[in-house]
Amino acid sequence: MSDIIEKTLASLPKLFSDGPRGSPGEKTMPQKKIMGRAFQGFLCSVSRCRSLTEEKTYITHELKQIQESLNRTDVSQGTVGELLFRLIYCHLLGYDVSFGFIHTIKLAQQGTGLEKRMGYIAAILLLHQDHELSLLLMNTIQKDLQSTNILDNCIALSAVCHLVQSDVGVISMMLPLVQKKLQHPRELVRMRAACYILRFIRLTPSYQRHLQENCRKLLYDKDPGVMSIGVKIQLQLLKSGLQSIETLTSDLCSILQQIMNRSLPSSFEYHGIPLPWLQIDILRALACLGRENKKNSESMYPLLRDLLDKFNTKARMSYAVMYECIVTITRIVPHRALLTEASVRVKRFIGSTSYVLKYIGVKALTHLIAVSPESITDCQMIVVELLEDPDPAIQSKTVDLLFSMANESNVKVVCSKLIEHLARPRKDFSESELIDRILTLTEKYSLDGVWGYDMVLTILREERSGLPRDMVDRVLNQLSQVLNYPRDTSRQVPEAVQSLVKKSVQGLFQENCSKELVKIASWVLSECSFLLKNMPDDKVMSLLQKQFLRESLDTLTRLWILSCVTSLLCGGIVQPGVVTKAVRDMRDRCVSFCDTTQDYTLLQKLLECERLCAQPLTVDPQGLDLTQFDFTLSYLDDFVCDSLEGETKPYIHKNLRMSPLKVDPLFSGFAENAGSGSVASDSSGKPTKSATSDSKNVDLKLEGVSRVWGEEGFLEPDPSVVDSHNAESDQKQRELEKKQELAAALFSGFHSQSKSDAQDKEWKDLWSEDVPLNLNSTSLDWRALSAEESERKGSSPEEMDRQEADRQDPGSVLLDLSDQEKSTEGVLSQDPLSVDDTEHVQQGHEQSCGESQDSKTTTHQHEQSVGLSVNQEGGGGIQGMNYLSREPPPLSFESFPEDRIQDSSEQFSGLYDGVEEEEEDDSESQGDSVYSLSQLDLDTVRVRGEVRGSGAVCDSDSDGGSRQGSELSLYSQYQVLEDSHDSEHNEKVS
């Protein structure tokens, strides 16, 4: 017995040293050395290369050697693995290593343990899911998924995540295996399997239905890591709108509650915050769930409030969670108190000294403004400053903010700011987006069109590459509404139209304006040609001629100018003699500098113009009835019938024309069939609808026709004139349709609650575009929303009445608060730099964040300011009403007792009382202390950072936290905490 014990004891040290792996083989040692020394030598010699060419010669040489040794059969797997890692390094440096791809797969297949792993890692790094060779790996992956070795399972699952395509066959092969792994006893494997499910749902959203059961189970997994992936999957399902949401809200809320109570393992804490990644995913899912869903939202309110209160402002991560919480609050059915809380936090974000937090603050404010527009009033000065910020990233976010806060009163200023930003050097993609936004704003708010046209002219003053494609169409659409006034000779022409024409002429005087401007201006001139009567005709012509002869213009733009000339001639504005002279001149010059082979259309048009001058036919554009169109071209019927009787071929549409010569002999049988089919259809077609392609005859008749059809100038460079006519009529119809659509879009809002209501929804839609967290497809329909809204309103008529009453007697209070009124009107709706206003605003600002002893008066003023801003911002008082009626009920008796008790007339003041007393005391002071701390620390840290910066490449500081703190001033305030935290961890580990 003692022998046995002795033996056991004797074997213990050996067992400890070797572990359960048995005796260490001699072969492992040299392998490890090869990997170590040769590999490091390679890296050293690469980094020793002084120039790029030196490096290139070395690496191409090395690659050749690697290729040779990979192709040999006698190399061990360890060596292959090492060579593959060299390849990865070469790939990192940007060299082509495609010859080694197959070897990565081979190693993953044949190797065991470490070699297998190396092969997999190399395959993951070098291949991608669409690579054809990755298919070869599938078999290996399948085998390794079935293996009992956990590490093999893990690496195979990672490979699956990276390399499996969205191909249904491969997925259906993998999925059962992965699903089995969801039941694996080890959480490491379960988590990776869950990751694959997530990726699979992302790749093929349509196949997820039969997975829902499994996904739901993941939420109840005992390991928080697996559970967090489960939440991610739910979020993904919610985003694709395929998730049933009945019990999910309560489940997620209970998880969040658990996290906040810290009932989950403390090893999952990150810098003192429990499971922040999971928290953020839950918040996002809640935002999806609570959107337009009152019941769900109400169950979240207490939780969100708790979350806002519990924030530890000393940890960086908590800012990320706080931002997400604010976004969630703005997404769900709004709750006034929560929004006020959120706006207080946002203010602190924006006012922070750290650029990172500023950026996030601007983003949060952009979200917040969509639901509570009054929250901007406190931060307007900061926003104005941020507009001039040197950091382009912050600038562009502020521009986003400006766009979302535009309303009727401030839109002009916003637009001029946007145009200012346009002038700054930036990249193409943002330019086009910015122009698009300006156009959207002008379309939305420019009622008389003059101001919007001004903006357009300013944008087009110079040639731009990043113009939106449909810009001309959009502008013309907008202008045609202005020009569509009732045409009556007795009445005066509206001033707006006159100024439009004046501006167009001014625009044409510019030498280097963009061609879009030429198009638009010439269109305006031809539409309102009668307004040019007072202008000397040779001046008009010379102006057009000058533009026509600009070398940078293309044919299309020139055609626009010519149709303008035609229209002026027909309207009797310019004398035929002047035109003839000008047109001849243009033609001569045109031939001289144009490539004549391409510009037949232009020449033809010029000739037409000349002929038109010879026998002028003046048409009074005001007398023309442009509403009647003959789309079937019935006036051509006789002509077509005559031609058809006289041996002419019937017209065949361009797409149906087929030349039998081009048919490939291989497809001869098909071609015959197809050909006969098309012939049959042609012969059966009605001859009245088609026109002949006999261009000579058509040309003769065309002049008369073109006069009737006016001056749109949308002529395509198509030799067949009949086609161009069709196109023209189509174009008109399309325009008509567009106009109808636009009208429908403009006026459809009126049969719902109010205009401002629709506006509100529009804003929301904009946001759903930006951050598609809420892809609930049914709820995006705003008609449904307005119906819901009206329902909600109907349920509480007394409340509505009360609010209306509140709103309708502002006169008495307006009297003594004229000062306040100015401040709320705001810097942003006026010139932001004028001194008077700034003073007012500052005054208002100070008042609003005044001490608590003033709280009563301040509150009073707040009440006023909110009422006022509402009145100004929307289309009158209706918005105010809506806005109030959106107010959801309070959270609960416990959390907001004052809400219930409050008389509705004191509703605002009650809320603000709460804010003043609670917030001003603790959070403001807290915030101040944090920021002052950060400023103090900043200096010391900078000094340290400088010292370190002069040091060597590798920083020998053992404390990661403090070093990181020294890198960035932003986070300096948390340095102390971080240090302590790290040391804590050290202790734990040791």
Binding site: R21, G22, P24, Q31, T148, G225, R316, V356, C954, L970
Partner: protein, 157 residues
């Protein structure tokens, strides 16, 4: 979801790259070149976020290394900053005060670790301990190849 992650030095030399979306090599090189130039031209008093094409780029400098991640427009930038920080923490814990040379000479380890942290572009594990445990398991594997043979002997493989 994260699109890709790049590590590069102050001189603009790429040290690590990890792509979670499929791009041809040419495009990858182009993106890398443009981004590195863009990030290196940023001044220290600017925020760590960039808008680049339809992506958002989050970067942070640790000593002489820039960590740069591209995320989708809807993602949370602050969170990405923390992912970077966590990765650095992990590297630090593993190498014991990590420096650029550690990453150059042990880049396979850096890749291992990144794989433990991010899978398919999603943060995979929120517990630092578990990540380090997984890495340690692999190191065991690396230290002793006979592990597999032992498993075979016991009929587990």
């Amino acid at each position: 979801m994260m699109q890709f992650m790049l590590l590069f030095s102050r001189q603009g030399k790429l040290r690590l790259q990890k792509w979670y979306i499929a791009h041809p090599d040419k495009l990858k090189k182009k993106i890398t070149r443009e981004l590195v130039a863009l990030v290196l031209s940023r001044k220290p008093k600017m925020c760590s976020f960039l808008e680049w094409k339809d992506l958002k780029v989050v970067y942070k400098r640790y000593a002489s290394l820039y960590f740069c991640c591209a995320i989708e427009a809807e993602d949370n930038e602050l969170l990405t900053l923390e992912v970077i920080h966590r990765y650095v923490e992990l590297l630090d814990k593993y190498f014991g005060s990590v420096c650029e040379l550690d990453i150059i000479f042990n880049f396979e380890k850096a890749y291992f670790m990144l794989d433990e942290l991010l899978l398919g572009g999603e943060v995979q594990e929120t517990s630092k301990k578990n990540v380090l445990k997984a890495i340690a398991a692999q190191d065991l594997l690396q230290e002793d190849e006979a592990f597999e043979t032992a498993l075979k002997e016991h009929g587990l493989y």
